[in-house]
Amino acid sequence: MIELSSVTKRYPGGHEALADISLTIERGELAFLTGHSGAGKSTLLKLIAAIERPTGGVVMVSGQNLSRIRRAALPYFRRNIGLIFQDHKLLYDRSVFDNVLLPLHIQGMGGNDAAKRVRAALDKVGLLKRERARPITLSGGEQQRLCIARAIVSRPQLLLADEPTANLDEDYARDIMDMFQAFNQVGTTVVISTHDQALVGRYGGRTIHLSDGRLVP
């Protein structure tokens, strides 16, 4: 599903965020990217989501070489990925329902079918009763669940979550992780970056540890 070969990422100014990363994540796997702040976890997720391009090496996702992907093909590639951000990236001037509808709308789906799928996704994350609310009125945990609903509504094969439990208390964090585990159990590949080692231990997935932009064996 995901294959990185000798990947490096250097930002303008010379900072090397990743150095010589080679790894494979199989389809249906649950993987945790761990490491301290600045270890390169977010950069690695951005490379897998084609938000950034590698400076060197090859990133392959679902058979596509992301180092060479055309700009025009990027939107279609991203439609197969569910992205969950630490800062949620919600649209605060739209309702909960409309936030979740957006990916389907982008893919050209509308009408009753889309509404059914939105409500099913909201039901999965426990926000069905808040569909008319504005995201700003939701708690931090609810906003993160809304972000997850938006990521799963188009039934992606791959979920990428960047520090999804940061700033959440333990109960909320466990709720969120339970959801990821549930998605993984139905065949979705899930990659989660976190610095919370205790959380990782509880879910038993594969751990990929990064330190200063390098893989730690």
Binding site: I51, P75, R78, R79, L83, L91, L102, I106, G110
Partner: protein, 299 residues
Amino acid sequence: MKAWFEHNLHSLGLALQTLRDAPLASLFSILVIGIALSLPAGLYLALANLDRMAGGVQTRPEVSLFLKPGLDEDRGRQLARRLAERGDIAQTRFVAKADGLKRLHEAGLSDLTAGLTENPLPDAIVVSAAQTEPGAVERLAVELKSLPEIDQLIVDADWARRLAALIDFGHELVLLLAALLGLALAAITGNTIRLQIYAAREEIEVSRLIGATDRFIRRPFLYFGTLQGLLGGLAGWAIVSGGLYALESALERLASAWGSQLALHGLSLVDGAILLASAAVLGFLGAFLAVNHSLRKLQ
């Protein structure tokens, strides 16, 4: 196809919502566009009416025909009547040589003929041309010159030439104004769109992250630009019509002073449709350029 239609409808809805959400700012933008468009449209209308007026006023280009010396006065009068029946001649006036001499005296120019025993003036016919275009008057003069009864002729088409030149200049001015103010319209729309994109940059970023194409992002802005241009065009049409209504009685007085009964004409439906279509196209172009430039910058 259904999804494409639904998204276009949704984009149109978003564009209308943007106009509704900031009614005062939208109104000002539309008014500015309307005023900008009303200038070339108003000038165009003024020229069209002037053109029409030029065809209706009594001061038509005249050709003075001097008949051959010794030609019988009756034949001269017959010729005047015959010429008056031509389609390219509005009217003729026969001036007998005795009348000509009398007018000369009345004008205080009797010294010119003092000492002459006979009236030196020939009989003359003053011909008013039906058409005011200098080309048509000159063609008429050439034809009249070939008549056997005519000795000499003088064409008085200067004023028509000047009016035609003025109208031509006016048309050029309309084109220049239309081009400049069309550019202004596109710039106003572009600037509005640029600000909107700046305000929506987070939404654009999120949409891109979840798979939106630039075409998807661009569409509501293009609808907005087109809609704003269209409404600006309507405002321009209304301003021109209102201005015409306000000036109508004064212009009618002016026209009657020239001996003409002029009915002022507003923009025809075709003119109006061209104005609206041009405004919409310019709005679309302004939006297209601004949105493409801004999206590139947001990459």
